[in-house]
């Protein structure tokens, strides 16, 4: 499954460590939320980077105390119909100021890329190769956005207000 990060297909440096599996001594790892919360300190003190896979039915509040020490958070789309992780992503980015990697996992298709990016995701485990290949092109699908989110894109309303301002300044 290709990983798209910073707009490009890249090698995934993170190793997914399953619940019962042994934790490698170094290297970047993704740990399931329950295992991480059980005893976070030894994991965070390892030599490698720590990522946590956070389920979409648990409030992100429990993860907030550790955000500053995490390199990555993976949120889950069990099917692309299930949109809970969009709210989690926005809360992590916009309310809790999380600025590490925010990865979308599960059933990730090109048709969600723009929504996901707007919600704060910057890494995507894409289900189909063709969708991963089309990432850059798909991200250009939209140039107009009605809602303000934490992604920094200028909303339609702000563009209109700027236009109005420059028009009245020119008179």
């Amino acid at each position: 499954m290709p990983l798209v990060k910073n707009g490009r297909i890249t090698t995934d440096l993170f190793v997914h460590v399953a619940d019962g599996a042994e934790l490698p001594g170094d290297g970047a790892v993704f740990i399931p939320a329950a295992r991480f919360l059980e005893d976070p300190e030894p994991i965070l003190k390892r030599a490698g980077k720590t990522g946590v896979i956070w389920p979409n039915n648990r409030a992100v509040d429990d993860l907030v105390p550790y955000l500053g020490r995490l390199a990555a958070v993976a949120l889950v789309f069990p099917t692309f119909r299930d949109g809970r992780a969009y709210s989690q992503a926005r809360l992590l980015r916009e309310r809790h100021g999380y600025d590490g990697e925010l990865r979308a996992t599960g059933q990730v298709l090109r048709d969600q890329f723009v929504f996901m990016s707007r919600a704060g995701f910057d890494a995507f485990e894409v289900k189909k190769d063709a969708d991963a290949d089309a990432f850059a092109e798909t991200m250009k699908r939209y140039s107009v956005f009605y809602q303000p989110t934490g992604d920094g894109r200028v909303t339609a309303l702000n563009r209109r207000m700027q236009l109005r301002h420059s028009e009245s300044a020119g008179q």
Partner: protein, 551 residues
Amino acid sequence: MYAYDELDRTLINERVSEFRDQVKRRLSGELTEDEFKILRLQNGVYLQLHAYMFRVAIPYGTLSSKQLRRLAHIARRYDRGYGHFTTRQNIQFNWIKLAELPDALAELAEVGIHAMQTSGNNMRNVTSDQWAGVAPGEVEDPRIWSEILRQHTTLHPEFSFLPRKFKIAITASEHDRAAIKIHDIGLRLHKNADGETGFEVLVGGGLGRTPFIAKTIKPFVHGRDILSYVEAILRVYNQYGRRDNIYKARIKILVHELGIEKFAREVDEEWRQMGHSALTLDHSAIEEVRSRFSYPPYEKLPHMPDELKEAAHDPLFERWRKNSVAPHKVQGYSIVTLSLKPVGGPPGDASADQMDALADLADRYSFGEIRVGHEQNLALPHVAKRDLPQLWKALDRLGLATPNVNLVTDIIACPGLDYCSLANARSIPIAQELTRRFANHDTADMIGRLHINISGCINACGHHHVGHIGILGVEKNGEEFYQITIGGRADENAQMGVLIGPAVPYAEVADVIEDIVEAYLALRDRPEELFVDTVKRLGVEPFKERVYATR
């Protein structure tokens, strides 16, 4: 009318391109039907019994004549020459071909029409009073706020994959024509003691198999905060709404299971944490949207022009005028409702020829504007009273002057088993038969206001729960049966109807409705007492007795 600017136009064109790509990927097999289903539903495309059905949004029920002509063109070019107006200010085409859909959408986009979020588990077309901006006594034009919400809910990055569909309706009049109490969020525009504009926010209304009347969650939310408050509600719903069972996934179930007080606390806490956000609308932001609504250059006209006095001698004209013409906020003008419920016709259908002709009449008599109401009728919102006689003649020729607005034959019905893959029973033939039974206008007039609503299954697209008389199709041992409720209503006093007894077979429905109406005529204490008020006063028993005594 709201005028799209370059940004609005760009966005809908971008959506058309995206959908074109999605259709292409489906046709090439790159997308599975399961994947494509969700994507097509985001854009109003259902797979029905015979073909794809295509639902186009008419945001808050406003259309220009140019847009209506384009809808007529779509009906002719891509469908079978007609369209069906729904209870949520949409129009449906029933025979569309998947491969042609992107082109149809591109043609609609040219006139600022789209099908975004007319189905699927997202925020649906924002609906409002079809008399918005012209009704006397309105607090403020609710279309400004409807448009603000339309933009905000369109392609929302957080709420496009909700547990279930989500419908918002707005009213600004004392008499609620937008049925806000049966919506996921109902907004009643009003002013606080300081004269500031805001909303009573209601939440958790809806019909379907578990009907609820919406409850007030906040009596006043300031206009500047309405987007953040709505967003707080949506965020709580997106996270906690049930996803294990589609029949329990609407926000009404979450509100019911938590209780309105606890749900309100959750929303308030979320809202508090959002704090002053980019969603707060300052005065200039609201004015920016308001500035793109244009109002007709009304003339100064007499209250009672000579043309109207003269036409009053024609009893047929008078009958139509009394039934279909309503007061306008500007002197000398009227709001004219056009019944899409001719005797023997399917409720809410209009042919391409009717649409074209009506667009011409709108240009001549209504500043080029047409409205669509949830009762599946149309309206011309700015008709000079002096033009009423001529307009009536023209409408009559088009079959759009049936004087039955709000009467027993002004039936709301879903497409039912004739089109819909979910239906258990037919709706349209029941409606057609009832319009024949009550075809005599004098009888219908004497009966007075009486809303009959028909749904072909428990999903309740015909809003049967809130019909004065509700008819629900069910299936029993492979046969069509119908449950009858009475006493429901969808207005500011919204309530669910009460079942009068066992379901009756298809062939008996019209007889039963006649019995109920006859019972009402015998029971009402004066001619002015409406059917629904007689039911309220006496309960269902006398009606039940009448219907089942001989069955």
